[in-house]
Symmetry: C3
Subunit: 312 residues, 3 copies
């Protein structure tokens, strides 16, 4: 594997999940693979799980880790070509990416969607800037439109908790006080399309995800019907895609409850707002998988780094 | 040892000091004890000594270290149960603590008192949130009401510098332009109660510490009398406990001077405001132990981490 | 070598460059030299290249690294002697430097010029505060008046790219929207004075550097004449030294272009503002050495750390 930008970069997902579960059983089995290899984690946005789990994964493989908050510790970057850089931005992505790639062996990047300019968000200027100008593998730690480390961790969690073949998995939109990106939902949908599952997306009208991504997926606007006989319910808020980045008054009663959940397992990528996205009774109950999902972030990252290291 | 929340978690203090002094002589003697163990240092407040000394201590034991400024790099945390999280806070301590505890083997936390809400400060919501929800050992890097790593470093420094049995130790309040927490003073008092010393607390009226903590201690409001024949003078400002978090006009002449100090050794946890808390002549003189106290922060932390690692 | 504060601390520059090039060929040749040695990188200002390259250099030598943003993560420092510290500053450099030097074996410091108070900038209060009060080697990661790690990287790059003896090297001022320090230019000039080259400085009137530093150097105010037959053109903006820290309306047409550059190699320390300091065609062309200069920052730092470690 060269870069890990999308869940589709993994090739056979089932094999990747199996390999990640091997790493979970033997986290230090490849502890010399990363010797004299350095990963640089560059954050353009805040992070808790991604920061610590990716760092842990790299250390499990014997790598050196450099962590940097690019925004506050480095320089403001320019991404456009041909600009006269006489305003606030001190450095062009062309230089920054080439330079950083000389100081390490892998670069991992977090750069969220602005939710202001759809075209620019979809161009993934930060992530793709590094892909274009850096000469080393790039790992996506959540970009404008994708969060493939989360999706792989979710696939691992589903594999660990599936008791029947062809389970029913529902992605259910939830309310949220702030406008949130589509990255987690997008990558979850893409991961679902690689799985042998009955997959249903449910959300209020106006909250359709990018139709390119959900193409071929069953979409139901009646949450109750969608949830019927579900084995796993993945809950996540996202802002409008059509009315880009906006939050409508729709869906105030879409919070996930114990009653709605029935016998299904509950999943969420975290952080989660209690009693807005999901009620306490779900998170504090035995059907919640959120803590294990977070744990699996280590092994998702470790699988990705292992595969990249093996091809360096 | 499971957690290190208070100086009382050490058991026999004299043995702990002895063990720390052994580590000071042979800092790399246990350099494989922490192999494949990771400590996560979480800062909710600024730090210089604690950050660097704890990191150094962990590295001396061969541990991997992850450092994170929780406030600025992570998410705002909610600590109350049952809240509808539709305001500024993105994540509940329940999830955050469980999640972080999966990414490492020990969590160390710094979370200062607000000095606004006494009850909430005494509930130690951050530290106790991690104790309650994390499944791994917790180390207190200064909480609302305690700074036990400092107190252990102070005990080490006292042991190294005591020339007579049963020395007289005075904790002397000092003026300060800002309202400061009681944590350092509290832990020093608790440490004193475990020692074979003549201990006196002196402060202006209105600056009594928590009576639960100072119970049984000699308290004198006349600084001059208190300092008489002292062997060690530990100087520290704190804001009012009764009139919680406030600073009165009392005590403007309580700055420690060379004259007041006499032949005693001078101690302070640092950072210290020169010529406000203590005059230059004291800090620049031979009776000051403040640099050695800071040095001993390494071995205090190393003793604590060693004991925790031995019981993992 | 004790401290690395100036390019002159290296002794014979040609030997240092040769040793650095050996390290570039065999970066892990001394990977046990730094065992059980710790470097602390203290940033009072932002950094990208310096932060990552110095960290990488230290790791290549097997050192442990602690990185700290002193301003935002630590305490505000007081540098004056005898001050009554009752304002915003919590800690004196005397304590901070002594304390930090106990937690590591080498301290590296970045502290830019204020460009407000020339005398204070030239006194190098931060860097010299650490030199004075710390008891361990200090490395300059760009101070008010010098950036010797950059100058050494530049010397390495010149050595690698020189095809003829006694090349002509031109330091050419460039326009910039913000007032910038003189550190890079100063250290480049000092490095040039140690080389067997034909060296010319060119800048608009009013932009003379510190005459103490440029003493003996050829200075030409006609950029075109200065650039004639140049082999290397080092471009850099700096604010006025005489009219300290100010930016005049002079020199708007001093941007480096492909046409002006001719057949010369282009150098810049980065970050660089495209189409203000230099046009795209230069940076994107084959004559640009800026990426290699940045790469050589690793080996400049590694040479410096290696020499310090060898004398610890």
């Amino acid at each position: 594997m060269k870069n890990y930008l999308s869940i589709n970069d993994l090739g056979n997902l089932q094999e990747a999940v199996k390999e990640a579960l091997d790493l979970k059983r033997h986290p230090y089995h490849f502890k010399t693979l990363g010797n004299q290899k350095t990963i640089c984690l560059l954050f353009f946005n805040n992070s808790l799980r991604t920061r610590l789990s990716t760092q842990k994964a790299a250390m499990n493989l014997g790598m050196d880790v450099m962590v940097m908050n690019f925004g506050s510790e480095g320089w403001q970057l320019e991404f456009e070509d041909g600009t006269i850089m006489d305003q606030g931005k001190s450095e062009h992505i062309k230089e920054a990416a080439q330079v950083v790639s000389q100081f390490c062996d892998i670069v991992a990047i977090r750069a969220f969607a602005s939710l202001i300019d759809k075209e620019r968000d979809e161009a993934e200027v930060v992530l793709n800037g590094f892909v274009k100008y850096a000469n080393i593998p790039i790992v996506n730690m959540e970009s404008s439109v994708a969060h493939p480390l989360q999706a792989l961790a979710d696939a691992i969690t589903l594999e660990e908790n599936s008791v029947n073949d062809n389970p029913k998995v529902v992605l259910s939109w939830a309310p949220h006080p702030k406008a949130l990106p589509h990255a987690v939902a997008n990558s979850f949908v893409e991961m679902m399309k690689l799985q042998d599952v009955e997959f249903v997306i449910t959300h209020p009208k106006g909250y359709d995800l990018d139709p390119e991504i959900t193409k071929g997926c069953k979409i139901v606007h009646n949450q109750e019907m969608a949830l019927e006989n579900a084995n796993f319910v993945y809950v996540k808020n996202w802002s409008s895609y059509v009315d880009y980045g906006n939050v409508s008054t729709q869906g105030t009663n879409w919070m996930m409850t114990k009653e709605k959940l029935g016998d299904a397992k509950f999943m969420h990528c975290l952080p989660v707002r209690r009693n807005v996205v999901v009620e306490d009774a779900v998170l504090d109950g035995k059907q919640s998988l959120v803590i294990e999902q977070a744990n699996n972030r280590i092994f998702a990252a470790q699988l990705v780094l292992k595969r990249i290291l093996e091809h360096l």
